[in-house]
Symmetry: C2
Subunit: 347 residues, 2 copies
């Protein structure tokens, strides 16, 4: 256990750098006021002495670890990788780091939150589908702020930050209707996630309002993944050549990419000539030349800022803000997978 | 700062679960021997009491935090996302979690390692291109094991785990030669990274051995990204219609995907008829129908296991194993972007 050597203190660093001990402290405090020149001297001296401030010791005093837990359900969906990247960059800017927890589709979410709480974290961001009131209650009881990212728990008072998913489903429905589609299919994502549920619900509600019959809308399972979208399209469309839908809504972009590849490369279906298609999220991968996917853009940067604002890590207080839920509207992005109507369609 | 409430202790949990206090301790120790039934009782009681073991307090005793730092240079290359996912899953299985640090292309790597060491981490895995002996020396001096993943520092005694990148470059060169190519281009990645340097070097060495002239091999810059590969291909190939190469080696798959999209969708180049092409890594994205990329597979799972074996987190000792470097051979995967020679070519 004796991996440590005798350590330099902040006083050693101050002496070598020729600055005050408080300057050393400020040099290592994100956002603290210090001249670039002084900071440089401190870092030089610290490097020479292999000095680093002991954040464990200081976290016992301040009760802050500068660690934020991010619980991810699925790293195979690039959307959540972009979300992780955005959180990591933003938190790092303010001297905090992301501790990652991955949750399998069938993992026990209560056990997962206990695992998270074995670490002293300043806050928890949950993006996995399996969210429970028990998880959020445990965090609330322990005074740890938690935000559900792009999902919510019906009946819970936990705060969440999300896109208006039902509204986005409606936007896709309107685009299909404007382009003249009459028979529809949906590839849904994780059935436990409110994100998929809401997108499907908004889509179907808007279709029914337009006079479509429920029987004109097939709902398939795509497990939120590329492979799931690919398999769902292959199974449904090769078995239904006569009653083939003329519009397919995949509730996320990565499933839409899988479905497109199966349809075009395996079944010879032309998009959008034979079948129009849309996704949701606007991941950069869906913008690439082989896909040019029409989709609803989730305002990720805005959602990240809103999450940090709700977590309020700089101002820990007795009470955690609960029940915050202000869905942010997404934006329909027209690309090549739905023909743009000639009439003056309003997106 | 008073976000905490009065906390249940392990004795409270033991009393409620009707087990010994040492059983509670074992239930929360990864790999400890405990009956499933007992473990279940403990977790139930712990959940009821919102009890979690305080790993900060215990880390001050054991000097272990169960946190491993992963320094990532680039999350826009899916290869490193797969690496992150693999490390996160494997470490989580043994009760450890990954703390992420992202390093910009132009970031100061010495400042980054000091940032890492503000946290008490049990080990450091470095995948960013900017590795310096100063970074590894600081870790060694502080008794923290560090492994360079898929890169190394010439002249350094830091251990590294990597694919045989130069050998992989040679494998691609042989595939091109077997398919009859005579004029070549390479899209290189981050010039600071040994990974890209070695792949380019192996490729060129094998070409020169075959009698090619150095002037028959153009080397372009692709910045290791999809957009960089796209831009490099667009710039080079639209300007050189007469002296167009007949084979293009992109030193990673994500640049190859970008280059393929620019060549096919912007310049109308047919692959492999007009130009044969290969990548490196074998990311799942390159296997998809629009790409079907011929590449060299990096043995990620093996590399992850080797990294954990070198870090040796379970057996902290006075000395850290240094200087370990056993490159693991990659495997050539034939798909559609190089015509398979009719003759009995040996991969």
């Amino acid at each position: 256990m004796a991996r440590t050597t005798s350590r330099a203190t902040s006083f050693d660093v101050a002496a070598l750098a020729g600055v005050s001990q408080s300057a050393v402290s400020r040099a290592f405090t994100p956002g603290a006021s210090i001249a670039d020149d002084t900071r440089h001297k401190v870092l030089e001296a610290a490097a020479k002495l292999s000095y680093v401030p002991n954040s464990i010791a200081s976290s016992l005093t301040t009760k802050r670890s500068n660690i934020v837990a991010l619980i991810l359900g699925d790293m195979s969906n690039p959307f959540y990788v972009h979300v992780l990247h955005a959180f990591s960059n933003r938190l790092q800017e303010e001297g905090r780091q992301v501790l990652i927890f991955t949750l399998d589709r069938n993992a026990d979410s209560d056990a997962a939150i206990l695992q998270v709480l074995k670490y002293q974290v300043d806050g928890v961001i949950l993006t996995a589908a399996q969210a429970s009131t028990r998880m959020t209650d445990i965090c609330h009881e322990r005074g740890i702020p938690i935000v559900l990212f792009n999902r919510y728990i019906p009946g819970s008072d936990a705060s969440c930050v999300r896109c208006d998913n039902a509204g986005g489903g409606r936007q896709i429905a309107e685009a299909f209707l404007a382009a003249g589609a009459q028979k529809f299919a949906v590839i849904a994502g994780d059935p436990k996630g409110t994100t998929s549920q809401d997108r499907v619900r908004g889509f179907i509600e808007r279709m029914l309002e337009s006079g479509a019959r429920r029987s004109d809308i097939a709902v398939l399972e795509g497990r939120s993944s590329y492979d799931g979208g690919y398999a769902a399209a292959l199974k449904h469309f090769s078995a239904n050549t006569q009653s083939r839908p003329d519009a397919l809504f995949c509730v996320n972009d990565i499933m839409a990419m899988g479905a497109m590849d199966a349809l075009r490369f395996k079944l010879g279906v032309k998009i959008p000539q034979d079948l129009m298609l849309a996704g949701f999220d606007d991941i950069p991968e869906g913008r690439r030349a082989p896909y040019q996917l029409t989709t609803v853009r989730q305002p990720v940067d805005l959602m990240v800022e809103e999450t940090l604002s709700v977590l309020n890590l700089d101002q820990p207080s007795q009470t955690i803000e609960r029940g915050i839920d202000r869905p942010i509207k997404g934006k329909l992005i027209w690309r090549s997978t739905i023909p743009v109507p000639v009439s003056n369609f309003r997106a």
